[in-house]
Symmetry: C2
DNA sequence: TTAAACTTTCAGTAATTTCTGAAACTTCAG
DNA sequence: CTGAAGTTTCAGAAATTACTGAAAGTTTAA
């Protein structure tokens, strides 16, 4: 399985970006390769294409499966397992968001809730708690916003963006029609 | 400058999360400390409070300034510089998004555009290009969506979320009123 | 039950990232 | 000027993270 120069460029790039997206270089490369390659790939083929050890490949596949970005695909008559993307690009992107939210937001929300509970032992600390509250609410809103994105799906998102005016504009518009419903 | 237990917990946590948010542990701690502490802090006070070297503190302050998360604050009569947050929590959060977009999305968009340009040298590669196109468009939409979030501002976002119905619902509603405008 | 085909685990090594502290630099008062 | 008060830089040390490859494990066919 030789990668074309086009695929090679993309794979290398996704490797470099991988670390910024929450996984490491090889895992990023593996994902790109599996997504871009039409045919299901075996662990060995992946290891060969990327020139990485079989052990590392196994670890990487495990990680990609834990992120639910790839899934196994059994080919009748073949002994070994093959791997394919776990869904459309949209699905994969959502999985990445979801997973990152779990790692980057949820633990903080949880801590902030705990700290807000504690009774402040000083004037200073009351102010600190107020700040923490503000951060908590912001994270909550951002989470809700990204949830909206997922609920929307790719087509509606596209429609919305093509509208040009932006969500703020639509909201305004709605307020005028139903002023009773606005906050 | 002794940190209260409340502040200590928050600072330590933001340190741990820091690495997931694009900066390292100490930079995360420094940011939390500066944001939670009412008074402007000097580099030395920060180094002492967090028990880190003066050199490291200097690096961290530089990084936080490059992210535009803190700014210098001169106190008349004082020789040294002090540091305070560069804005409200909302502003800080937006700066973080912005910076991450630059690091995590923009380089990929740029590469994808380049690769899509190249004339495909095989059937295979045409298919790969189609996939890359799909990824590109998705990233573009996501970027636009997060831009919407920033344009909205905290109050409107809050209003929207309290509406409960979600953006999809509003969009639907709008379509019914102005069917000609839908995509 | 054996052995071939394949996968996973993990101890040790390699690579990368972060941190320290001493030296170099800057600024300003006297 | 001079030196005190402050800052920045950066080479090397420490800590963390990723990778290899050999050994142990699993599955299936005969």
């Amino acid at each position: 399985m030789k990668m074309s120069p086009l695929v090679t460029s993309a794979v290398l790039h996704f490797g470099e970006m991988g670390s910024r997206w929450g996984f490491n270089r090889t895992v990023g490369q593996m994902l790109a390769l599996i997504v871009l390659h039409e045919e299901p790939l075996s662990a060995q083929e992946i290891a060969d294409a990327l020139s990485i050890s079989r052990g590392n490949t196994s670890m990487g596949l495990k990680e990609l499966q834990s992120w639910q970005l790839i899934k196994q695909h059994h080919i009748p008559g073949e002994r070994k397992e093959f791997f394919i993307p776990a869904g459309s690009i949209w699905v994969l992107a959502n999985r990445v968001f979801e997973e990152r939210r779990k790692r980057e937001i949820d633990p903080t929300m949880s801590l902030l809730r705990d700290l807000m509970m504690e009774s402040a032992s000083s004037e200073q600390d009351s102010n600190v708690q107020a700040r923490l509250h503000e951060i908590h609410d912001l994270l909550e809103s951002v989470t809700a916003w990204s949830q909206e994105l997922q609920n929307l799906g790719p087509e509606k998102l596209d429609t919305l963006m093509k509208l040009g005016a932006g969500v703020g504009r639509i909201l305004e518009f709605k307020d005028k029609l139903l002023p009773g419903k606005s906050a």
